[in-house]
């Protein structure tokens, strides 16, 4: 009977129910969008820097990360590759020989990172090919380079122009080379896009006089969320004095901090949003409670005990809240999917400001299911907590006063 009463009460004042449901739907959509863009941006940031360049775990010669010189390289060891690849959590292992060089055109020069790669394998792990916007992708044995657009623009070089690199090779030999630009690549991360040069690894070993040497093995993982754990396990497996194994969090502590900081900052923002939402939902519940004072008064007067009456009202609000949360998730799903497909690009000064902070001026959205159910549940619980306001009012209700209104 209580259920029946609650159910019918829902449909009795459609306007009021619709207002309440809309408030909840709006709240869910808003918080889903906010959470989605937050997650989307952080995922993208991570992907841009970690996924497209560093990889989630790297193996170096012990001490390399603190002193990134070619002298800290190690021999390419197919046994080591094999033993890494045998691990189930490791999908792919690729070699790199990286070193800092001075890149120059006829008129300009700039410090850059020269990355010797196995072009095909590199693409398998960091999807480098997808970053190519002009020219052709590197091939093994090419005597040519691909450079990032930021660097090319700075040096005022275009496709097929010659790039000169100067640096220090293995054990102090000087390294100098001149390569035609075969392809231009563009990274989402403005920081990375400023100065990267890709060269086939064989050619770079030759350039640096470091035959058969690599500075890093970059690992592609089955599950990127387990980077830290995998890194620790691999570290334990390899001889400590020879190799160091690092997760992206260890390699890029600033990025990890930025991401964690963003998350904390967003929590504050989200709490503020939840408070606004709470006020909105509370308003409709308040309206409902006030409008029904008289009716509540009659029911208590004729002998309905307050616990039962409260239960009816709570049931009503549970119906409304669940309905609102479900509709909210259903409405936000297509919106988020659309924004995921077509991210929002910023333009003008705002875009510049973002780039100056080393961020892409694009709002990416995450379609992670977590976003939907956590936000749906948070708003649902907010609504349910607020549903206890009428219970409180009923508890204090004096039937005489209620019926005078």
């Amino acid at each position: 009977m209580l259920l029946k009463l609650a159910w019918r009460n829902l449909w009795r004042n459609k306007r009021r129910s619709i207002i309440t449901i809309s408030a909840i739907v709006f709240a869910v959509v808003l918080s889903v969008l906010l959470d989605s863009v937050k997650k989307g941006l952080l995922d993208k940031m991570k992907e841009n820097v970690v996924g497209f360049y560093h990889g989630y775990v790297q193996v170096h010669r012990n001490g390399y990360w603190d002193d990134k010189t070619i002298d800290n390289s190690f021999d390419y060891d197919s046994m080591l590759i094999a033993s890494l690849q045998r691990r189930e959590e490791v999908d792919e292992v690729i070699p790199r020989l990286e070193s800092f060089v001075l890149a120059a055109s006829e008129s300009m020069s700039k410090g850059s990172m020269l990355v010797g790669v196995d072009p095909e394998k590199e693409d398998a792990v960091t999807t480098l090919k997808s970053k190519l916007i002009k020219g052709n992708y590197l091939q093994d044995g090419d005597h040519a380079v691909m450079v990032t657009t930021g660097l090319a623009d700075y040096l005022r070089l275009g496709l097929n122009d010659s790039l000169v690199v100067l640096g220090q090779g293995y054990h102090g030999v000087s390294a100098a080379g001149k390569y035609p630009i075969k392809g231009l690549i563009k990274f989402g991360s403005p920081e990375l896009n400023k100065g990267l040069i890709y060269l086939p690894i064989g050619e770079s070993q030759h350039l640096f006089g470091a035959d058969n040497k690599v500075t890093a093995f970059v690992l592609k993982l089955d599950n990127i969320r387990e980077a830290q754990k995998t890194s620790e396990e691999l570290g334990a497996m390899l001889p400590h004095d020879e190799y160091e194994t690092m997760s992206w969090q260890q390699m890029l502590p600033e990025l990890d901090q930025v991401i964690q900081g963003e998350e904390a900052e967003n929590k504050i923002f989200q709490v503020v949003l939840y408070m606004l939402i709470a006020f909105g939902i509370f308003g409709t519940i308040l309206m409902m409670t006030m409008e029904r004072q008289f009716e509540f008064g009659v029911m208590v007067a004729i002998g309905m005990n307050k616990a039962m009456l409260s239960l009816v009202v709570v049931l009503e609000n549970i119906f409304l809240s669940i309905l609102g949360a479900i509709v909210g998730v259903m409405v936000s799903l297509p919106v988020v999917l659309y924004l995921y497909r077509f991210p929002v690009s910023l333009s003008g000064q705002l875009a510049e400001a973002y780039e100056n902070f080393g961020m892409e001026p694009i709002y990416y959205f995450s379609t992670d299911a977590v976003v939907f159910y956590t936000q749906g549940l948070v708003v649902l619980s907010l609504a349910l907590v607020l549903a206890f306001y009428p219970v409180f009012k009923i508890w204090k209700l004096n039937p005489v006063a209620a019926m005078q209104s």
């Binding site: 009977m1 009463l5 019918r8 009460n9 009795r12 008289f294 009716e295 009659v298 029911m299 208590v300 007067a301 004729i302 002998g303 309905m304 005990n305 307050k306 039962m308 039937p399 005489v400 019926m403």
Partner: protein, 237 residues
Amino acid sequence: MENDTPVIVTEQLSKIYPGPVPVHAVNDVDLKVMKGEFTALVGPSGSGKTTLLNLIGGLDYPSNGKVWIRGQEISSLSKSALIEYRLNNIGFVFQAYNLIPVLTARENIEFVMLLQKKSKQERDRRVMELLKEVDLVDQQNKRPGQLSGGQQQRVAVARALASKPAFILADEPTANLDSTTAGNLLDTMVRLNHEENMTFIFSTHDQRVIDRAHRVITLVDGSIARDQIVAVPSDHH
């Protein structure tokens, strides 16, 4: 139950509303209502009729004095005990909007018996009996919004009876009705008073309603100014 058992007894009953100028809404009322009486409470607006009925009905606590219903003193009951007490002992009819809007006429009558946890069988039997008595069998599946004001008040009377209370208390039950409809409602109440030997106490302004009462108590400034027996209560039983 014998008709010489008092259903309601009040002793020096007072209600003072505090304020800069305290209002003595009910002032030292000594009242005795016998089983089967059909009593009208009259008096000018503000004379304390509603306040007195609320005290007798256990909706409000007196500032002084006591109320006994069928020999039980109720003003010492806790609020929650009073709710239970009202459910089982007092039938209420208010001026308007008595009914639960989302329940049909039938369900409104059944509602108090559900609260009393009566069996389905008993509920069905009693609801049908009451629908007949208030002449609303045809309207039983309509919701209050689909019923006229007079029909709504008759449902309210049936609901008040459903719990088998000690008496029915009605605060200006005809105030929102035109005189014909008011007459109908009074007919129903009088009939129930006769047939079920139900005790009624109701407040009213309406002279035609007053004329139907067996006993007329006149309140002035919260005190009983006059208490007239105009007819002998029915004693069909």
